[in-house]
């Protein structure tokens, strides 16, 4: 029982990341009709906003102490992060909380990247076949990857979580199970709650604001909305920016769980597309439900008992499920009639 519960928990944080990326993908597809293969790169760019922010505040000011020697006999170099040099203890706190604080940088940066991407490239491919959209956005993803590789190098750059959230919560004892039987890292719980918060905010925005209502109307029937004199294209551009922000924030908060490198986006992109397909193209609730479902399923497939029964199942379970779902429900779990069915 404890083992099953532990695996269930473990699937939630990864499922959260899948759901956030898949939500953005679905938003872009639902509003603009574009299959955006660069969406994973937006997740990666968000993660590198966290890296850039930390590198900025931990830029080292080097002084030497002639009184002390290094192990190789030269005067000892004392390196002080710039934030600590000028802000003292507050600087240390800012460095400790660099990951959540980098959200403040990521929101405007990702919004601008999203809008520039849509206005500069994507809009030229609205009425082109999906194959061409895939090719051009995939190419864009590679360009973004290589840019990040040039500036940050090819290797993963670990980002520490705030010290308050290090260690694990005894989730089992909260639920009346044997104390210590189910422990779960605090930051993973934070990530799960964060993803729920972002998902709720996006749904609330679409559901309860006039802007959201117009966007939903546009997703259902763009031409009619246009005939009503509403500039739906401008709203869709902003939705592209919003999708970029959602992917970026998912990337920022994921950095303490997986040190980001330049191809982080590709690793998540493929799985997120499977999530979108399983959830149903164009269905926002479908994308979210499928994200969590596949995250949890992948976690269960890693259980020793299951892996002993079917070796390697943890590596293929998501794709296996996608095949089964598409055979049984060709439109995915919550897919709408007419989407991608020209």
């Amino acid at each position: 029982m404890e083992a099953i519960f532990a695996q269930l928990l473990n699937g939630l944080d990864k499922g959260g990341a899948y759901a956030l990326i898949a939500l953005g993908l679905t938003l872009v597809f639902g509003t603009l009709g574009v299959v955006n293969f660069a969406h994973g790169a937006l997740f990666m760019l968000g993660a590198f906003c966290a890296v850039a922010f930390r590198e900025l505040i931990t830029y080292e000011i080097v002084t030497t102490d002639p009184e002390q020697l290094s192990p190789w006999g030269s005067p000892l170099e004392i390196r002080t992060p710039i934030a600590q040099q000028y802000l003292g203890d507050w600087g240390a706190v800012i460095i400790d909380y660099s990951v959540p604080l980098s959200i403040l940088l990521a929101i405007p940066v990702m919004l601008i990247i999203g809008i520039v991407m849509e206005r500069g490239l994507i809009k030229h491919f609205y009425n082109r076949p999906h194959a061409e959209q895939i090719l051009v956005t995939f190419g864009l993803a590679i360009v973004l990857q290589e840019l990040v590789k040039t500036f940050f190098g090819p290797n993963p750059i670990p980002q520490p979580m705030p010290s308050t959230f290090r260690g694990a919560a005894d989730v089992g004892s909260w639920l009346g199970l044997t104390p210590g039987a189910v422990t779960y890292p605090w930051w993973r719980l934070v990530y799960f709650l964060f993803s729920i918060g972002i998902l709720s905010a996006v749904f609330a925005f679409l559901r309860f604001t006039t802007f959201g209502m117009v966007v939903r109307a546009g997703m259902a029937d763009r031409e009619t909305v246009r005939l009503l004199g509403i500039d739906i294209d401008r709203r869709f551009t902003l939705m592209f920016g919003l999708a970029a922000v959602v992917a970026g924030l998912a990337g920022v908060m994921y950095t303490p769980l997986l040190p980001p490198n330049y191809h982080l986006g590709m690793e998540f992109l493929v799985l997120s597309f499977v999530v979108v397909v399983v959830g149903g193209m164009g269905s926002l609730p479908g994308a979210v439900a499928a994200g969590f479902l596949l995250g949890i399923l992948q976690s269960f497939a890693s259980m020793t008992a299951i892996k002993n029964l079917i070796p390697g199942i943890d590596q293929i379970i998501i794709y296996l499920l996608a095949v089964v779902i598409l055979l049984v429900r060709p439109r995915g779990l919550m897919g709408r009639r007419g989407v991608m069915e020209s």
Binding site: E2, A3, A6, Q7, L9, N10, D13, K14, S70, P71, W72, G73, S74, L76, E77, P154, N155, P156, P158, P160, R166, G167, A168, D170, G180, A181, V182, T183, Y184, P185, W187, R188, L257, L258, P259, E267, Q298, S299, S302, M303, T304, K307, D314, Q315
Partner: protein, 450 residues
Amino acid sequence: MTNFKKGISRRRLIKTGLAGVLATGVSPYIFSRSAFAQEFCNAPTGDTVTLGFNVPLTGAYADEGADELRAFELAVEHLNGEGDGGMIPHFSSDALTGNGILGKRVAYVTGDTQTQSDAARDSARRMIERDGALMISGGSSSGVAIAVQGLCQEMGVIFMAALTHSNDTTGKDRRRYGFRHFFNAYQSGIGLGPQLGDAYGTDRRAYHLTADYTWGWTQEESMIAATEALGWETAETVRTPVGAGDFSQYITPVLNSGADVLILNHYGFDGVNSLTQAVQFGLKDRQANGKNFQIVLPLVSDLMAAGAGNAMQGVFGTSNWYWSQQDEGSKAFTNSFGAKYGRPPSQAAHTSYVQTLLYADAAERAGTFYPPEVIRALEDYEFDGLGNGPTLYRGADHQCFKDVFVVQGKENPSNEFDLLEVVSTASRDNVTYAPDFFEGELGPYDPAMC
């Protein structure tokens, strides 16, 4: 008309012919052991000799690769008589004089193995065929080392393996043209076993997470043998993909497995990630079977300790070498490396540096670059002064035998580099095993033209 037939007998013809051969200057080649000087791959013809350094600059072992490259560059400097000479003045052999190798200035080319066997072979082949590399060194993954070692055997180019720890490198996959200075997984088990018994007792259940390739398999096998010899049980062995990044799905099942020790047969970024994630899951603060839960990282480096931070504190492992060793050779190397790069060398850097010196020394002692002669100079070679005490390069399997260091993550590091502590040493005698303990064939000495 002259009757030639009558004038030249068979004996005279042979005599005359032999005299002619001698007179035309062939004799020095017949009677010199350099007779075959041009009959091997990339025989140096100019005033330089090119070495190929094939290291991972990307992938799971990229940190180690970058440090290996620093050490190779330093070794080349010292061989060419630049800098302070590093370990050369302390080396038991006096064949190296700072005049390159056999009077030829040392040049080098580099390649990125990407921590992948195919990429590593392509890179090594390029260095041999295009750049004329006479010797290849590098590694940082046993899969890579074994693949490149096989290629070097085919092409007749000596491979001085750097960081490779699988038993197979000098076991079933040993090659005549391949040499390993680094220790192996079996020796880690022999060194670490008694320390684990002393620290954690004899009644333990161990759960293994293992990198799914040759090194991980032999590391797991060796640790199971060492811990079961103590009386421990093996609860479970689980294979994980190299470069998995997120190990949470593999760590979660450990919680309810009944194990009280987690043995992480991971290295490089994988070791850093799996260790920090295991600590995030609270394993180090956990009680299981009435005991404190423990984590063991059988092969550890200071680069990994730096990456893992506090998670490394108190964790046991083994190391081929550590920069705080107090012998003169180690101190000289640490000083050279620290002065040049502002950081102490890792064990990967040390073995890379030493392998480069050992190749150069063997060529000097052989008096030729001809690979079979260099190989013979390395085989059963006993040396000292390179940081590991008296060391034997055993001819039967091309494995070095020397002391093995058992290390532990320091609880209170005095500076950012002071991360590990050598807590015990397994003597060379203890970690020496019979040449046929692992089955394998070295293959022929025959040189090849590439």
